[in-house]
């Protein structure tokens, strides 16, 4: 059952194999409620697998995954999940896509959806179809679609990696504003270390696969609210970057060597 004190996510020696290949192995990870955790690691190390386990889309082949005190059997009812790929429904307008969770729970959700369009600077684009919207617009709509159901845990899989740098910084700011306004738990996957440090309150470094584990955990004590664009010049930021990169570099090199 859901308890306030229980971790939003708890991986207990969790492992997952695909056929003969082990994606993650004996993974221990505990994320308390309200934390903004970032997960960095080389490509193919199992980041998406970890999120799929957290969402209950995959079952661990060893160990256990718990969310808010309950072991997961099937879909995790506490999560929203912003996928790595585009998941807006192409046959629904942007407004209807934002209101999708409301539609599934039997409400119209129109007013809320309109409010969000305005809030994200998409006023007047509500009746566009995704194919007519730019990549940045689609990401904003996808973020609203996931934020709106008010689930306590938000999983994000490299959500901004396909965006240009300006759109990206705008989205990062947007996300931080949202998170500052109601402290949900966020598990944010990226392979961009700068992004991880700029956003998160704690950064986890994953080892290269197969059989990935957590290599290290770095609390990020940078003051909030953070100004994304300027933060990267802050000496505390660069110190953190250097320290974490020393851990991450060998993993990236190992991943490339294969």
């Amino acid at each position: 059952m859901k308890e306030l004190s229980a971790p939003a996510l708890h991986f207990r020696a969790a492992g997952r194999v695909f056929g003969a290949r082990s994606a993650i192995d004996h993974l221990n990870l505990e994320i308390p409620p309200g934390e903004f955790a970032a997960l960095v690691g080389p490509s193919g190390c199992g980041k998406t697998t970890i999120l799929n386990l957290a969402a209950g889309l995959l079952a661990p082949t060893s160990g256990a995954v718990e969310s808010f005190g309950g072991a997961l059997t099937g879909l995790n009812p506490h999560v929203s999940y912003l996928f790595q790929q585009d998941t807006l429904l192409p046959w629904k307008t942007l407004e209807d896509n934002i209101a999708l969770a409301a539609t599934f729970s039997g409400r119209a959700g129109r007013d809320e959806a309109r409010e969000w369009l305005t809030r994200l600077g998409l006023e007047g684009f509500g009746d566009y179809y995704p194919a007519q919207a730019s990549g940045g617009m689609r990401k904003r709509v996808a973020l609203a679609q996931q934020w709106l159901p008010r689930r306590p845990l938000l999983l994000m899989d490299e959500p901004f990696s396909a965006l240009d740098i300006h759109t990206r910084q705008r989205m990062e700011t947007e996300l931080l504003n949202l998170w500052d306004s109601d402290q949900r738990t966020v598990l944010f996957v990226t392979h961009d270390l700068e992004e991880a440090i700029a956003l998160a309150s704690v950064v986890y470094v994953l080892s290269a696969g197969p059989g990935s584990r957590i290599v290290n955990r770095y609390p990020i004590h940078l003051p909030r609210p953070r100004a994304i664009a300027e933060l990267r010049l802050d000496p505390r930021f660069t110190d953190l970057y250097r320290a974490i990169w020393d851990d991450l570099r060998p993993e990236v090199q190992r991943a490339h060597a294969r």
Partner: protein, 252 residues
């Protein structure tokens, strides 16, 4: 874009071919007994439409085709969705469906007339067997090709199986289903006409068979011309419905 002159060229080409046919038949380069002449066919059509008899034949064929189309498509769509969401059932059913589909369906027509009589039922049943498989295979493929992430995302946002069907699977499969509907209307007409041709008391196929019995090429060709026009009209209607329902595929 090919431009706005296309329709003009098309009409011109049709007029040219008909004129060539007419002139060739009049000059007896081609034998009018075997090939008739456009003007004779036109006159025959005018004659048919001057009495109310032709409407009865046309109506009978259209009703058979419509029933075959609606029932066959409905069965195909329902079965397609059902097996598309149920891998075990699909695996079990596959060899049976492949076998049934591999059978040249025309040989079923005499059997159906034997079973269901000379009336409408045998034509509808025959047309259904033609329509069903086409719609079924397309629907099945459409349901199976829905991206995994779209389904996962909808389920995580709280969709139950019925909502998943309505908001994700059905719209996604609609493009595939529509691409088969135009062809299946043609097949439904084929079913009706072939059924009538082999044994009936009315309908376009019956008219053509009768003309054939009298060695009347003009009558046979008039029946075929009428058939072609009807199929083209219905196909145009389906395309309109498709454009409406698949608006999201055409960015403004």
């Amino acid at each position: 874009m090919p431009g706005k002159h296309v329709l003009g060229y098309q009409l011109g080409l049709a007029a040219f071919l008909l004129a060539l046919w007419e002139a060739g038949a009049r000059a007896t380069w081609i034998d009018p007994f075997f090939f008739s002449r456009p003007s004779l066919i036109g006159a025959r059509l005018a004659e048919w439409f001057s009495t109310s008899l032709i409407w009865g034949h046309l109506g009978a064929t259209l009703l058979e085709a419509l029933l075959a189309f609606v029932l066959g498509s409905a069965a195909g769509i329902v079965t397609g969705f059902w097996l598309g969401r149920w891998p075990l059932g699909a695996a079990v059913a596959e060899p049976f469906l492949q076998t049934a589909n591999a059978l040249p369906r025309v040989v079923l027509a005499p059997l159906f007339i034997f079973w269901f009589g000379l009336g409408i039922a045998s034509k509808v049943a025959f047309g259904m067997t033609l329509v069903f498989f086409l719609v079924f295979f397309n629907t099945y493929r459409g349901v199976r090709s829905v991206e995994r992430a779209l389904i996962d995302n909808a389920r995580l946002l709280g969709a139950n199986e019925r909502q998943l069907l309505r908001h994700v699977l059905l719209p996604s499969a609609l493009g595939w289903i529509f691409s088969s509907l135009e062809a299946s209307i043609g097949l439904a007409m084929v079913g009706a006409v072939v059924g009538e041709y082999l044994g009936a008391t009315g309908g376009l196929g019956y008219l053509i068979a009768q003309a054939e019995g009298l060695l009347d090429t003009t009558g046979m060709l008039a029946g075929m011309a009428l058939l072609a026009v009807v199929v083209l009209l219905i196909a145009a209607l389906v395309r309109r419905a498709e454009r409406r329902l698949l608006r999201w595929q055409q960015p403004r």
